[in-house]
Symmetry: C2
Subunit: 422 residues, 2 copies
């Protein structure tokens, strides 16, 4: 679709989203679930169309010379369509966060004051190539009573539009406005600029994609952004650690998956146990093909199975089979290192000492802080949020894995019987 | 104090605040309360100095031709110093929000997942002439474990610096870093620009002052802002309202105080009761000296005790003895009017009908929504928050009156026993 005036078009999109958000905020739980299940049914019935539209994107991507990794992320296989459908049905089965009333108490004046959970309004999602985000993100926003404006990557244009068609039909089948989920019908980059500067129509932006995208959006946005930047996660193995637990957690946190944001990137080891612990650990890592980059002490212990780390290593999210290791002389030095180099995503301490565990939990300023557990657990599903729209490394509004509740706000409600203020 | 390079100076302030915030986040409740009580004692002991410094500001203000209203707000009387001291002691007596752990549950994998309340980090407060804000805001931030950078109005410079001296001494008496509360030592406007664009040092900005100040800061800030713009509050008197409750609430909501943001500005009345209700109400308002501006129907009923409202009236926060009145034909028309004209601060319905009350509570999208109660109750003290740093008309993070909890975030905590992810 060619759209001549992007700003006018985006203003229309925003206005329609704002209008639809009012109907969605008042929608009954059953209606929202009906829409989610209808969308799942429609995606199921339209597999052939979805894959045909996806092939257009794949062909165009190959012509444009996209990497195999990007083409793989772009592809809508039958299994991925199954996963989208399953995701929609799971979200339909989650409890509805909207309308819940809590902290309802009488005040000395006689009024009753409580709080009610309400939608944020309109959520804007800006994402890169994976077309399944279109269905996942729309479903989370819909369940939490928000209207959504989705702006996917240009390389997934046809796939996203095909999914959008099913979403809008599913909404209408449930008696909800089709405009409650709009997928931007242009690949013009100007649309992103317009989207992030319309506080009158969009209440929050969630960018999902590479660091460059997220930094650019955070810098230029005129609306709040739920953003997830680096995951430079640490495990600190204390001198009072149980060696088996330390081994299990350090191996899992680094090697269970390399490309995820909750993967261990820097291992801190207390020096009184380093000579025993590091060689055992290094052997296991080397069997997995993990490259080790250590501080001087680490290299002295590990010899040629380790290369010297540079200052840059401590600030690097490898997302790869590489691990930096530093020997520290105390819990305080470990926490100082974390304070300086962590991206405040997830850190874990391995210790049997409850006093040190309590200090670590209280003093480490990250979105997830753990004791004797793998950093890989930092995830909305593992935490029981039911689903996750992202992981916030900010402290304002939502922090850590963001589920349905992160897409809501609360208002105060007051009940009286003609009460007036004295 | 003359400072030649404002940006360098503000960077130093920011860096010191960030460092102090770490100590404050780890401070024990007793230490924070000790500091608050010490500051109260010091302000009490230094009344003469405070008033002498305040007189410098008052003299300069008079020379500059400040209005009597502004001079009045600027003055630190003995009663106002008492109120500051009392406020500090009250905040010391509030429960500490920091470190509280909640929603701690076992997950199917065997890990325990919960959430811990933590400070935001560094809070920046930008405010206008009232010097008491220096003590109030510092106290709330301190109790919630945040470092604070305060930038008061230039007209209150000497008063603010004198209060700042007591605050820093009080912090140090409790063994906390004096830098935990810094009052910017320059009146240069550039300092504000620097303060709102340092996300590396300041986590949130709270502007307190006129609409112009808040709009300017919100537009230019590169950090999140907890902002409070207009309070265009509505009361809707339904056809099933109890006449006495309607009368009491409408009179109180408009006339108990005129200059507050939770004061009634537009009254909506159902047309089947308008002929009975409006003349009684108008008589009471006229006895209080309230000017009435009505829609055509209102003017037809009230005759010469009412002037015609213009379109602009529906969007005006008078903060004065003026009220706009519109007759509506249904709850839906009342809610449509509110949707279009409300600033989303506080709205109240007067009705005995529970179905209409439930709809109003659910569908009206304002930070406080009430049934049969005066809008004047929308206040942190009345709601039992203990204290209030402002009223947020945004939905992101905090909404409505912001107490200690609005100055905090939560992190996830995970306890395991060597658990790894499968």
């Amino acid at each position: 679709m060619s759209i001549s005036d992007i700003n006018t078009y985006m203003n229309q999109v925003g206005r329609k989203a704002r209008t639809a958000s009012r109907a969605l905020a008042a929608a009954r739980t059953g209606q929202k679930n009906h829409a989610l299940n209808s969308i799942a049914d429609l995606l199921d019935a339209r597999r052939e169309t979805l894959m045909a539209e996806n092939r257009k994107d794949l062909d165009a991507g190959r012509d444009k010379g996209l990497s195999e990794a990007l083409l793989d992320r772009l592809e809508l296989t039958s299994a991925r369509i199954d996963a989208m459908i399953e995701g929609l049905r799971q979200i339909a089965a989650l409890p509805d966060p909207i309308g819940g009333i809590f902290d309802m108490n009488y005040r000395p004046t006689g009024i009753q004051v409580g709080r009610m959970r309400v939608p944020l309004g309109v959520v804007g999602i800006i994402y890169e190539s994976r077309p399944n985000v279109t269905a996942d993100a729309a479903a989370l926003c819909l369940k939490s009573g928000n209207a959504t404006v989705l702006r996917g990557g240009s390389e997934a244009f046809h796939s996203n539009q095909a999914i959008a068609g099913a979403i809008q039909e599913g909404l209408e089948q449930a008696g909800l406005p089709g405009d409650a989920v709009q997928v931007v019908e242009t690949t013009d980059r100007e649309a992103v600029g317009a989207m992030i500067t319309m506080p009158e129509y969009i209440d929050v932006i969630i960018p999902r994609g590479g660091k460059g995208l997220i930094e650019r959006i955070s810098r230029d946005a005129r609306v709040p952004v739920i953003k997830h930047l680096d995951g430079i996660c640490h495990v600190y193995v204390d001198d009072e650690a149980d060696p088996q637990k330390a081994f299990d957690v350090c191996l899992n946190a680094k090697t269970q998956r390399y490309g995820t944001c909750n993967t261990l990137e820097t291992l801190l080891v207390h020096d009184t146990i380093a000579e025993d612990f590091l060689p055992v650990m290094a052997k296991a890592y080397s069997e997995k093909g993990v490259e080790l980059r250590g501080c001087d002490k680490t290299c002295a212990i590990l010899g040629e199975s380790c290369v010297p780390a540079t200052e840059e290593d401590w600030d690097t999210e490898y997302l790869a089979p590489i691990l930096s290791i530093r020997v520290v002389d105390s819990l305080d030095q470990a926490m100082d290192h974390i304070e300086e180099h962590s991206s405040r995503h997830t850190e874990s301490i391995i210790t049997e000492n409850i006093t040190k565990a309590r200090r670590f939990l209280q003093e480490v300023d990250s979105s997830s802080v753990m004791v004797n557990a793998s950093t890989r657990f930092a995830d909305g599903f593992e935490y029981g949020l039911g689903a996750e729209i992202g992981i916030s490394t900010d402290k304002f509004h939502a922090r850590g894995p963001v589920g349905l509740e992160g897409l809501t706000s609360v208002k105060f409600i007051v009940l009286g019987d003609g009460h007036v203020r004295e």
